[in-house]
Assembly symmetry: D2
Homo-oligomer: 447 residues x 4
């Protein structure tokens, strides 16, 4: 413990309270500081301009929420017998706090897109940052005890034996989600993500099976689930953010293709990215990357001789998204014809058309037959029996187990040139016959 707690000012939680030297030392590692250079929401700031916050502030926020949960548990539900009574054992506090702080440490620049192109795995990298003796994070954790790095890693990968600790960090209502909903709402300036954190923390309670909620807090939990649902629909799945991700994907794919073709122009060599193109990167290489490093190479490529690469780099840096329309299983067969028309208009269909689907399961009951069974949210009745949330809340019941989202077809904005304007051609006109009210439709059905 620190002789006197240290605080970090934070717009969401007002202050982040640090009470252990270990936590302070972890925050000061290069691996944690690197998260200051990685946006929490990737390219969402291209749509919600305030979304400029990083994984660093989020990580401290998750730590703070976990700390408050521990405080509440210790004040109100302390174990009398080392946890055998199903109550909270405060010896678990440090491992829980470290896991909360470090849960995102393996995320890379433009995380999901990067993984998709280069085959990296942020969960695997998180484990390595925690357990590889070369990192500062590992060094700090080792200082607690030799097996402490592995313990923290096991909380993050859900194999830690105490379900209270695991669920605090990772479940359908965990410190991670609670922080990002509030923080993303604050920074985007929307209020969909607001819910009553104080009340939820008050009604959380440990039990032998993990974490449950008191009946008086049922509506606050319901409100959290609904908020999360709305944030996905409104912010995280916004079609223009996804469009910028599509462009980023195409840009990296094109660079990789050129690189793998073996004649990448040395003047534009992305020195820090090269190990990834070469499929031969170390943990150190990975930790050298951040959003700014990738953007730097995109600047290089503005002048690259390949017109596709340079154009896609400019579209990304200058924010010129593709347009899109939704499609369904029954209209998906129309996409090849539409892509043909995009090609006929002069675009390389491999890089100037794309599909993207985004679906979320806002909440689900536990299903042992599922590939990824969820820890359902339990309301603990006065007589200690548990009732699953969706059986009590008609609102939550309405969205339980139902994936929500859409599939979109992306194409250049030029395809929407209006009649009477210079870019409008017969090909363009033909293309537009496949669109109605933002959806892909079969033109023949309208005739």
């Amino acid at each position: 413990m620190l002789p006197r707690e240290k605080v970090f000012r934070d717009p969401v939680h007002n202050y982040i309270h640090v009470q252990h030297q270990v936590i302070l030392d972890l925050i000061n590692t290069p691996e944690m500081q690197r998260l200051r250079r990685i946006h929490q929401l990737g390219v969402s700031n291209m749509v919600f301009q305030g979304a400029e916050h990083t994984r660093f502030t989020h990580s401290l926020g998750v730590y703070e929420v976990a700390r408050q949960i521990c405080d509440n548990f210790q004040r109100n539900y302390p174990t009398q017998n080392g946890g055998a009574d199903g109550l909270w054992n405060d010896d678990e506090r440090l491992v829980a706090l470290c896991a909360a702080l470090l849960h995102d440490i393996g995320h890379g620049a433009y995380s999901h897109t990067f993984e998709h192109i280069f085959g990296t795995d942020h969960e695997e990298i998180t484990r390595r940052i925690l357990t590889d003796p070369s990192t500062e994070v590992n060094k700090v954790l080792r200082g607690v005890s030799p097996d402490f790095p592995a313990k923290v890693a096991s909380v993050i990968d859900h194999s830690y034996p105490n379900p209270q600790v695991v669920q605090m960090i990772s479940s359908q209502i965990d410190a991670d989600r609670m922080d990002y909903l509030l923080r993303d709402a604050y920074n985007t300036g929307t209020n969909y993500g607001l819910f009553d954190l104080t009340r939820i923390l008050r009604v959380m309670r440990p039990y032998a099976g993990g974490i449950a909620f008191e009946p008086s807090g049922m509506h606050a939990v319901e409100d959290y689930i609904v908020s999360r649902f709305q944030m996905y629909q409104q912010i995280y799945f916004h079609p223009v953010s996804r469009s910028m991700e599509v462009i980023l994907t195409k840009l990296l794919e094109r660079a990789k293709e050129l690189f793998e073709a073996g004649d990448f122009d040395e003047r534009f060599n992305p020195r820090l990215l090269a190990p990834f193109f070469n499929k031969n990167f170390t943990l150190h290489d990975y930790l050298m990357l951040d959003d700014g490093v990738l953007n730097t190479y995109f600047h290089y490529w503005l002048d690259y001789p390949d017109p596709t690469l340079s154009d896609l780099a400019a579209r990304f840096l200058d924010r010129r998204p593709f347009k899109s329309a939704t499609f369904t299983t029954s209209s998906a067969n129309l996409l090849p014809a539409m892509a043909d028309l995009v090609a006929a208009a002069g675009f390389d269909r491999r890089y100037y058309t794309a599909t993207d689907s985004n679906f979320d399961l806002p909440y689900d009951q536990y299903d042992p037959t599922s590939a990824t069974p969820k820890t359902q949210i339990e309301i603990m009745q006065l007589d200690d029996t548990l009732e699953e949330l969706s059986t009590l809340s008609p609102l939550v019941g309405a969205i339980t187990g139902k994936v929500t989202g859409d599939e979109r077809f992306y194409f250049p904005k030029q395809m929407l040139a209006k009649p009477g304007t210079p870019g409008y051609t017969a090909t363009i006109a033909q293309f537009q016959r496949y669109l109605l009210n933002g959806e892909v439709i079969d033109p023949q059905l309208l005739q």
Copy 2:
């Protein structure tokens, strides 16, 4: 005018309302989009972690404040005779809005530090971005009229003839300051910067000499001045932010020195920075830079053979600030002896000691003999006579014309090693005798 206004969601103003095609086109230029990659507060996020916002969101905010001022002026004080009556001529709206949006367009990465090292001048660059035919910004402005780029530039450099437009963008209470105080307060999570923007906008009014304020709004203006004063003392002058700037300065100085010595290791060549080291850069070169580009080269230099360069790069990226103590005119003579001790402890004194002063003049009356005379804030009485703010407000009177701030001496944290710890030596002990309660003192006075 756009057929239907377009809005951008913003956490500070809720929505930014865009009503002109010209404004929309300006926002979409690469020069404006580049501001998304430059932090508004430089390295302040190293202290106030939420301060991750950029000059892009600020620029849109300044635009929005100016737009609201124009709306109020046009609704309540429209001229009847082209402005000869001292009232608002709405023909000035577009030039005012463009100047508001573009006023920061010339800022570079880590703006003030960069200028200091490389001799760039963001005001001069702003002018060039507006008036050089090579930029997209110029192209959009030219579309209004051939002389429009120069008109917008003249608002920004204060030479535009209409003082209402000039003061709206640049005065002691302008759209720029009002946005940044609110935005910095929002993102840092402090409330020092809060004031009643709505009320101030309501009580602003045009007159022949520029912009004045109605008597009923005197206290709201007073509150704004006090807020600004407090933000400077609390946020902008924070000693740890300044420490990170000191490190950045030393880092760039060291790189420049190595570069100019002519044997910069080619493997670590900062391609996009090279024109600046070579003192031969174009506007295009300047526009290729942003915070992430500089950080990328700092990553390169982590492995550079020069230990000073690599250490300073690591200190900057990993946030390891120098410590500091305040000094005064009378204690400044002690600094050489202290620097000697830093050198004796093994640090290169050129790169591991520094002084830094930060002073602000929170508000001043107009003084024609000043090098930079201020436009004073005028309260317009019922009978149209003007009274200067500080004559009415004792709070403002207390800080009018008084610069506030401090001077600090920076040195490595190792110099503060505590007795009994490994790093504590006789040299260190000697050094610490120069410090008391965070101030530099003469050890002889204490004996």
Copy 3:
């Protein structure tokens, strides 16, 4: 129009903007000022202590929301032909604003409870306040035109011919509801009632059939419906507020019974209430009442010789609610036996037991066969076709047409005395066998 708009500071809308002399004059009538003395949420401040706001601030808030709707309609959808095109005719502004401001003018002290006991009807009284020549409100409205009072009244009773005006004031998403949700949330300090008013106002649009919403605002409307649902469940139906209403009802019933028995002790005569006990009241009598007047008589009755009356008065003034348990159709048959036990414990069952049911229909589609058909919420597609909200939103679909709420049985707190405490008797023990987890149950089922 006023030469310069006048503003009222408001914590919810920041400022209320008044631009017409008629509106200012209406605000200054005694009938409007009286609303300052009537709580918006009746006795809810007994549970949510911040809920101390009145119908006056709410009324100004509804006016302000309506004003903003008119501004948006006039800016974006002005009619070109007097409304025949289904767009907004700004000649309707004043009647809409007056109706918004005055819609609650007929509410009395402790409104719903009072009506229930004394057979008053606030809608009928609203009509009279608007149209009776004796009121100041009528005088101000008459000043516009002789038929203006009746026009405003017809907006409030839904018979006004323009459905845009009617729906603005009264529909499932109207200015009234939008203000009270935000205001009640602000004052109670809960965030269930928050939704994005600015966005909803932006996406509202007039059409021939009334008011519809643009597709881009669908989620904001959804969020509003969910917020409203949650406010009902959490705030408006709180069992302790309802308990205080039960006590108020019983208190007024007892006073009425004593009064009607003809021997009401003259020393405790409720002078301003007497006309209502005598079933012979004038509009002037009604306008003399407010929450404080009723409370004054409750103070008188603290010393009344009838122990039931004095006890109920003390319970109300000193906030000593009854306790309650939920019951259902199948357990309702147990209530007589429970009331017998309350009587056996020494309480007059007529005044110390009660049932109360609270149900709300959060949203419904239009149903011409309903007794009170609802104006459903329509989303207007790009091709001007309408789609009803619940067909687009799974969240809204989940609660459409479903009433939600509960029925409760109320009884004195003494019936819950714990075993081993002085008040615990065999009768009390017997009573408690009917309760489990806050519900009424059949004790025989547990044996």
Copy 4:
């Protein structure tokens, strides 16, 4: 201690946490519940319409701030020797919390005005409510120990020996002021009163002489002082609120005069006020009064035969304030002539003219020669020496020891009738020659 803490939802502090049965019992006394019926800001809601909050919510807020101070003191500065070390002795917690909760219990309806007319003294009454065995409050306090009521009373009257407890409740930066500034700002919807409560609580620390502040919190304390100054200037001294108080004063004076003349019309007898007119009231009588009771009698008097009484009652209930102008020592001699003109215009000068002065001393150093010496705010340096706040802060220095406010002359609005309107007469014209820009001036000086 309660087995589990109980919370009250509060918009300012989010939750009020109650952890002692004694506190819960005190909240449930009739004397505390009565505060729900007394507005915190008297008639200020006539100007800032949201200011509808009561002394009840404020009292719970002061309790909550004090509770948080105790928590911080106990966590960070617990005494090791019963307080002899100058640190916090948590045995003082309960007496401090009770004093915080009860500090305003003696306030009456329209507190200051009522005291002025009827010679009551809320501090004396507070003491009686605490120590008189007839009250419920006394009964609860006696339950702690026989001398506990007197101990709590001694904290409130500053005679309690522990200065930490006294200063927590009553000093220039105490729990009372911190709650009311935040609460009044929240309810009026202004942000002048906002300051960083969390930070101030963090930097408060006990010492032998009372409570001091750490140097790192100097600016937060400065901000609090400035906020308080601004709230007085903007909210508490608003000329229209004071006008409504003037009318209330005149109304009660007239009623008293009629009553004392001995022929008060029995039909309009203010039963609960009569003991005060008769100068023969008991504590029980006092506790029967609240804002609503007084308003009820004002309703009665609307029909009273005396035209002055009925007119003043209507002005108060219907919010028809007098107008005012500031005057100074040098212009005070003009007021009799102005009052003559008001009389000449047909108004009884005793009831239709008035002067009112409002001055505040925002902050002062300790001055042993003062009639009411202030406990100055001390900043405790690293070496435990104390520095008084105004020596460190130029902002605070500017307002230290200086009273601020104004004196106003009040008169009927009719005196401002404009030329050309029906009410404009030679007398009115003559009167208006004494006014310029809201100030009383000597007409001869303008000739």
